[in-house]
Symmetry: D3
Subunit: 150 residues, 6 copies
């Protein structure tokens, strides 16, 4: 049995918190496909192409990790990648309530699509993409929060 999971997100940017979830997810799944979701209606801070390149570097040499961009529903992205699992990290109760809703809908959109959760390692749980954008915008270094060099 080949277990493929997608790890979807806007990843604006992809952080060490995200990396933690992927690396731990690889102990459960045979392959993790990182999906950088592109929402045409939302302005990004970091370009998806840059992010795709950087995240690929972070997992360089690891054949069981793929990095892709996608537009559309996550359930369809999972389907296109023959993934029967969505991997997600939970940092706190706000995340939980949001993911609770989304995971039920994804199971509904693609029959049997399971969302599997890991709780983000505590020392990384405070790293959020929005805070990193804020720090970067004001010209302060953010490298310590990222698994690659910007």
């Amino acid at each position: 049995m080949n277990r493929i999971a997608v790890f979807p997100g806007s990843f604006d940017p992809f952080t060490k918190g995200h990396e933690d979830v992927v690396r731990r997810g690889l102990k459960i799944f045979d392959q993790v496909v990182i999906g950088i979701g592109i929402n045409p209606n939302k302005t990004r801070y970091f370009e998806p192409e840059l992010m795709e390149k950087k995240v690929s570097e972070a997992f360089d040499g690891q054949e069981n990790v793929l990095v892709k961009t996608y537009t559309g529903l996550t359930a369809e992205f999972a389907s296109e990648n023959n993934a029967r699992y969505i991997l997600r990290g939970l940092r706190n109760t706000t995340d939980f309530e949001y993911e609770n809703t989304i995971s039920q809908i994804n199971r509904d959109l693609l029959d049997g699509l399971e969302t599997v959760f890991l709780i983000t390692s505590p020392e990384l749980a405070s790293i959020s993409s929005s805070v990193i954008r804020e720090i970067h915008k004001f010209g302060r270094p953010v490298d310590k929060y990222l698994p690659y060099k910007l």
Copy 2:
């Protein structure tokens, strides 16, 4: 790779909510070992031996499900069963905050022991063992909440 997960709990009693998590967990793991934890200091309502028998019936014929009782730490029960994963269901934010704490400690007690979470199916999320005990105590039927006949 043989993925073994333990699904620990007091299971006083084991409910359809628990069954839901086990059945969905079987899509991720090769084997799920249901561990009925016995706490010598706590009075139970349903005997662990009865529960072991009933849960075994519920998964009768399913070779990838084992049912055991255990005393001691969950991390040690996992270790004894060669399990590198703990499977847990999340019903709500109260569960999340509790599990957040426990899962970090388990990772600490047994290096690399991962707790993997599924969100309980919404139609089953209101089934709690304590409520079932309350209903049963007053002589009302509880069979609809259980995956076996009492």
Copy 3:
């Protein structure tokens, strides 16, 4: 149409926070039956009979409020009082998660039994029965938290 609601609780003791919910509930329901639940397995601090007497005093002269004690399931207490509604106050998210579970089960136990929620007035939300017991135990006055004289 005669709308009867039960307002169940252990009320050990009944507080001004409870009174707030009952008084506001009377704007919605024609009658509120306050049900002091007796759990034979739990030790109380204030006797249910004392509480019944005191709460009756607090609502003296108000014919649309009844005060009763009951043993057994809340759904059955509602049924015996021809109530199709349970009235409950919510103080915070911990209350919400608990009530979420209980209300689904009550709807299940008695078809169509609706639990109707009011959010406790903020200046009363910190009054909890367990804290009052603690204060009373150490001989400090608690009258300001209660709608009657002890």
Copy 4:
């Protein structure tokens, strides 16, 4: 006594979760006025006029349900409709914290205006308007989440 409640929201779109709250609210109130709030500063996905038409169809023949659009404060909409109650559904703790704030302010804006809460039925709690918009935007069917045909 004629109990009128408003059920306000942006309803972009009105879902089966909303319908559930209205239908259960009709067991408590004599009339429910569904108020589709129009915020001039926010872009909608579904036009309020379309929504008004569709929701009216969903409650066709039910004289105790009115469907209206409104601009301005909910407390004023309640006042204009002689409603002394606001009806709201709670899906989770995020909803609770938000509604907690809003309900206190509404009671403040219109003396005695009570917000009455029902907890959304669990099988409908994951249906959110924003998720439906997302699914619809990508051309997938959403009819199963709506009490009318789009």
Copy 5:
């Protein structure tokens, strides 16, 4: 030892809830510097200059309160004001989860920068800047929520 704390926020507008936190903070700190954060990318409802003037009026004659506007990271604003503390109010769990993240990052950005929390007084906890903007926009009085005259 001179204890200086910054009290940062967008304060759009500054409310009686904010004032409560500052006044109680003055019992802990020798000086509180209220920092009205200006985010060039966000449209405000009340001008920062107006707010600076109004808040200064509210604390008129109190030499241990300073009111300033700032652009940039809060950690830098603290540093510029020789503050080793950030003062923040917590109203509910949503606030808590947000502040939990931010406070860890601030401690990271400026070594030893401590965020100190007070829980907003319950009767003021429902006052939120966004609700006040909404009420003001529709021409209703908001003075009762503010520690100054608009």
Copy 6:
């Protein structure tokens, strides 16, 4: 101005998470009095006298830390120690909801008694006294969670 805070708890046992809050509290207060609360109705796992001795060792040589045991209300313990502040750590939303209630009551019991909160450092937030008791009961080492040798 001499700022004295009490840091109350059952401390059964006192953990590195508690130590973290005390050490950071010393940056705010001139003196922290650790109060080991003795509840005559509750069975402890570690004796209060042992705990008092061990905690004193952990803060050996630090004159601004006192360690005491107390029976009775925390507000009275604060009063007896001339403390106008209670220091508390927050680990998660469950803690927050509990502390929210307690802090309002303490302010009520002793006029002006302020509870000041720090958020527990994330890498220590999963350390709970009850989990440590559980681990210790089964004979596993717990020293890494404690700021002293048992």
